[in-house]
Amino acid sequence: MDKLKEKFLRGEKLEIELYDIHAHIGGYNRDYLIFDGESEKIVIEMERLNIKKAIVMPLGVYVTEWFYQNEKLINVCKKYSEKFVGFCLVNLNSPERVIEKEIDRCRKEGIKGIKLIAAYQNCENVDKKTEFICEYANHYKLPILNHYWGRPEFLEKIVNKYPDVWYICGHFSFIWKDIVNNYDNIYLCTCNYLEFGTVEKMVKEIRNDRICWGSDFSDLHFGFTLGPILLSSISDDIKRKILSENTKNLIEKYCK
């Protein structure tokens, strides 16, 4: 049995600094209670689990009061700059000039990337609006984490059209396999409900330097996403890449 798995099963602290590619702050959600969702408590929890840094986005993905939510994000990221890298939330229902103005504002306040989640926003013309965001991000060489990029063909089209964007697929699916394998600027978050055997298949079929652990806190329990990786039969070296190195590299290179 590999050491990381053995230690995890024994309940010992992992000697590995974790980097989280997909997380949320904000404290409140319509769908259910957020327990201990205050940023101060989240930071303590990150320390307990040896999570060095996380890419964070507002939790209120339905985009009600999205300027207010981005403002909360900005303040938390400033307060805990050693822990959080902020990606601002975009309401794709808004006019393009409003979106541009809000992302400009967030960037000036230290926000490093953009979060898209059209699926929760009853949005029309998603592809057109997404392209607008990508054009903007391409100009400034920004990363975008999208909850769902739609069809792989669409993602491939915009990757070719806007090659200076760092694309992050927010939730794991094998539909992204080919495009992640074929392009250098696409990262794949592990976060999703995983069927038995998924992790082993994932590392066999997808380039290991682009698979990144995402916890989706404070939506999901840390263990829900850590467990499948740490208890899988993949090697400790690959676990370290997924849990630490890949996202660390992404943050250090592209979230300056």
Binding site: G11, D31, Y32, F35, F222, S232
Partner: protein, 254 residues
């Protein structure tokens, strides 16, 4: 740390799975430090409990760490001539849990209640699992019929009833109320993936009414086990949730 899994299946399911046989399940259990599992058969879940339960008993009779479930249709459904005798024989053959997955058969949970099914189960005091899930369907998240479940708890106050489903999301607010209100309400932590949920549910009754299920062969067991292992709770409580609570209610009168 060792685990006692509330929910795993064997057999050939309509969806292709990575294992089908009890020997294969035992190997996986070893890999995940699962010492014991309560097991059902694919036929019981997807075609007929009458046939599946019988095959299950035969399939796992030589494996002491696999404990059989009987998936149940309600009394007087026409499937079984003598329901009382059927239950009694199941218990004599090692059944230590009954599983009511009512949506699978499109029978309201309230019908199980009003047909007297629970009156019989109550005489055995063997845990009953309520599971509204139909795998890979629209009945996966927040599917509990909480009005009928409340009827059960108001009438049977010392029959252990365990609620499990594929995913509890919105309904966690209801689960919290049930954990606070009924001493015989048990909850499978593998059902809810919310941030810090294990820690918060533990605060209600010190973890006494929580158990863990993997949902093999469908789900990655690392998900539920990972939640327990990473939770910020004392090791003693993790052991209770991971193993001892289920063993305690399974062996109470069995």
């Amino acid at each position: 740390m060792e685990f006692f899994d509330l929910k795993s299946g064997i057999g050939v399911f309509s969806k292709v799975t990575l294992y089908t046989e009890p020997e294969e399940l035992l190997k996986i259990m070893y890999d995940y430090s699962i010492k014991k599992s309560i097991v059902y058969h694919s036929l019981s879940r997807e075609i007929s409990p009458v046939e599946g339960n019988k095959i299950l008993l035969e399939k796992i009779k030589n494996y002491k760490n696999l404990i059989p479930y009987f998936v149940l249709l309600p009394k007087n459904s026409g499937d079984i001539d003598n329901f009382e005798k059927y239950i009694e024989e199941g218990v004599e053959n090692g059944v230590r849990c009954f599983w009511i997955t009512y949506n699978t058969f499109k029978i309201p949970l309230s019908h199980y209640f009003f047909s007297g099914t629970f009156d019989i189960l109550n005489t055995f005091k063997i845990p009953v699992i309520i599971d509204p899930t139909i795998p890979f369907s629209g009945w996966q998240t927040d599917s509990g019929d909480w009005y009928s479940i409340r009827l059960l708890f108001d009438k049977y106050n010392d029959l252990p009833i365990i609620f499990t489903e594929f995913r509890t999301r919105f309904h966690i607010r209801i689960v919290i109320d049930f954990l606070k209100s009924y001493k015989n309400f048990y909850y499978d932590i593998g059902s809810c993936w919310n941030y810090k949920v294990v820690e918060k549910l533990v605060e209600i009754k010190n973890g006494e009414n929580l158990v863990i299920g993997t949902n093999l062969p469908f789900s990655d067991p690392g998900q539920s086990i990972g939640m327990l292992l990473t939770s910020d709770i004392p090791v003693e409580i993790k052991k209770k949730i991971g193993y001892e609570n289920l063993e305690k209610i399974i062996n109470k009168d069995g």
